[in-house]
Symmetry: C2
Subunit: 417 residues, 2 copies
């Protein structure tokens, strides 16, 4: 894509209303636009990063045997009343609205209730189990505080996977499988080293759930991480009783700020019982389906990546999730056809090899172009100028370490794979 076609302009000044580094950089570089506190739109560069994160997550969901669906945002209060999650006393972050006839509706903040109701039409026997379904869908949450940029928003895309099993033993096995898939996902997007499976509250129906917490100062959560990194515990369950269960003592841990990038939750029969999702087992007895739910917020993942991968000049995208693979920066002050053709040809060659390329064809100074390139943070930059055309080799600069290599296009393509 030509950068002249990308309508977004970068900003030098840091937005005054953002405290998190990720929001500041993502806004300055033109990935997101703030509409309201806690409400962001995604600009073309942001859409591209989100699609790459989604693709990585989707592949793992498919491997788990998940089937993709898409549930509505508008919610029927009746099913939420049946599970006692409609009242502000139990869930205090609903956005509610009304039909013209004054019927109240909710905006989905999660989807256990409609999915459980829907599956009553499709599950009746043990032969219909297990079922694993997931979606990438927009959640609405009426947060009182929304000050951490993309880390806590009032509207956000969520990947939510739900499991439906016949037995707790089957749920336990699937739950661990999802955990492994989550670890692969967080490694793939560049969060692996700093992301820890963390004991968290299990609610009324399970001793623990697990959160995937990425340690970084911008995080809103407080966790306790064992010095040897073998175990992490959310502050909310960092009690003597829990530590005894884990065979640890308080002094084994250090406190850290962290971003919850994912969670996995054993729901048991809480929703299936309340909404009547029953099945007939192999002996002909009726039993409630055993459920689990598993979330990841792709935009929060994007923010966490930027928190971990940036420097004073801007973002440093891991290769797996950058908006483009290569940034071709054309420096052509004299507007010669030779340089322009060379840049165009390079873009075509790289694209032929499957690379996504951003081509800075704009009529700006080299300084402005390099500053923008550093800010946007595409993993590899290739300059095409009168000098490089003469030299016949590409000057390839890696954003992460600033290392410069002189390569031809085949070498570059193989380096990026």
């Amino acid at each position: 894509m030509k950068q002249s076609q990308l309508f977004t302009k970068t900003r030098k000044e840091t937005p005054k209303d953002e405290v998190s580094t990720s929001a500041q950089l993502l806004i300055r570089a033109g990935f997101v636009h703030k509409e309201l506190a806690g409400v962001y739109s995604f600009l073309p560069l942001g859409v591209r990063v989100m699609k790459r994160i989604i693709k990585i997550i989707k592949a793992e969901m498919d491997t788990l045997g998940g089937v993709e669906l898409y549930l509505s945002a508008l919610q029927d209060p009746e099913i939420w009343k049946a599970t006692d999650r409609w009242n502000d006393a139990s869930i205090d972050i609903w956005f509610k609205t009304k039909l013209k006839n004054d019927t109240e509706l909710g905006l989905g903040l999660t989807h256990e209730e409609p999915l459980t109701r829907m599956l009553r039409d499709h599950i009746s026997s043990y032969r219909d189990l297990p079922r694993y379904v997931y979606q990438f869908q927009t959640k609405f949450r009426n947060e009182v505080r929304a000050k951490s940029g993309l880390i806590r928003t009032r509207e956000f895309l969520m990947k939510d996977l739900y499991s439906f099993n016949a037995t707790v033993a089957e749920l336990d096995i699937f739950y661990e499988k999802v955990g492994k898939a989550y670890e692969r996902i967080f490694r793939a997007v560049g969060l692996g080293e700093k992301t820890f499976r963390t004991f968290a509250s299990g609610g009324a129906f399970s001793k623990f759930s697990h959160e995937y917490q990425t340690v970084c100062d911008a995080g809103e959560d407080t966790i306790y991480l064992a010095m040897d990194q073998s175990v992490a515990v959310n502050k909310e369950v960092f009690t003597d009783e829990v530590l005894k269960d884990l065979g640890k003592k308080k002094t084994d841990f250090v406190q850290a700020r962290a971003i919850e990038v994912g969670n996995i939750f054993k729901l048991g029969t809480r929703f299936s019982e309340a909404l009547g999702l029953m099945f007939t087992d192999e002996r002909g007895a009726s039993a409630p389906v055993v459920m689990g739910s598993y979330g990841i917020g792709p935009a929060r993942v994007m923010a966490a990546i930027v928190e971990l991968h940036h420097d004073g000049k801007g973002i440093i995208w891991p290769k797996s999730v950058g908006p483009f693979d290569v940034h071709v920066v054309e420096i052509n002050a004299k507007h010669t056809n030779e340089v322009a053709n060379s840049a165009n040809e390079l873009v075509v060659q790289l694209e032929k090899q499957g690379m996504a390329v951003l081509h800075d064809d704009r009529d700006l100074s080299p300084g402005q172009k390099f500053a923008d390139s550093d800010l946007i943070g595409i993993p590899v930059r290739v300059v095409v100028s009168e000098k490089t055309v003469k030299a016949g080799k590409l000057e390839v600069k890696h954003r992460a370490d600033g290392e410069v290599e002189h390569l031809d296009t085949t070498q570059l393509a193989s380096r990026l794979r």
Copy 2:
């Protein structure tokens, strides 16, 4: 994909609360699920059709030079007040909600306002024009009546493209280009023959807009179609004055019901003036940007396709948008490995050639399987049974005309391309 993994069960009985054939069939076959009047969730088959429709639309948007972004659903009232579109008196289909501090927010029913405001940061000179941006994003509309299934819903995905030009002449050229792209899209999804570019009201700032209307009985709109199909006019502008403009008389037309599957609209400077989206032209003068907007609702397109392409047994998907390319129906009453292996092998071979395959591996009677297959409507069905394994050739049945061919896999793959 194995059909045993697809959790949806088909229904024999027609849902009593749906009057449109498309909603009845899409629910019975397991493409969509009704949550509330005018609110539908998409089941795995429905998600797959939607993705194919979206892909066709996206390719045309990219060809037009469009860049994809994604705007928030939650809306700041201030910008809608600036254009006088916040009051119920001007727009009576808002869903409104509130933050915890009682600040009112809207749920986006279209996106001219936030986009125009956002582009103030990115457009200042004629050098920043033209700009074309689009998104696939969920709109919310508080419709009083929502009785036509997926044809009029309260929550729906929309492809909305917006154009930003320096002059009306440039807008006019782009507008016609979009019209051509729309015609290619509607042809590609199987609506071409019955879809007509239709004169419609242009609002306060343009004489006409154009709707793309698919003629069918389930449509909510009334249009007048010239007997020679050279021109179509929406009822709302079917006046003597307009007919005179078009050089036609009333008796040249027949009345028809139609579904509005898309629209294209010249906005002029209505929004840029109200929200201050100005640019400096080549002579240094300041002028408001000239805008256009262009919508298609993929789910409405899906419904229109079903309205046009079905028979007494179920849906008949055009090849371009079917949830799968091939339905492999395994008939294996004796549960022999020979038949099962043959079916599995066929699926692998077809998938290798790039086909999307649904493999009915369920333990049901042939009658039930064929009825489901006809209802779901995948373009081509291949039966694998003891008989076909012996014969060594595939029995390929085309859903559209019931024609049966005996082919090998290479022939089948080339037939489906």
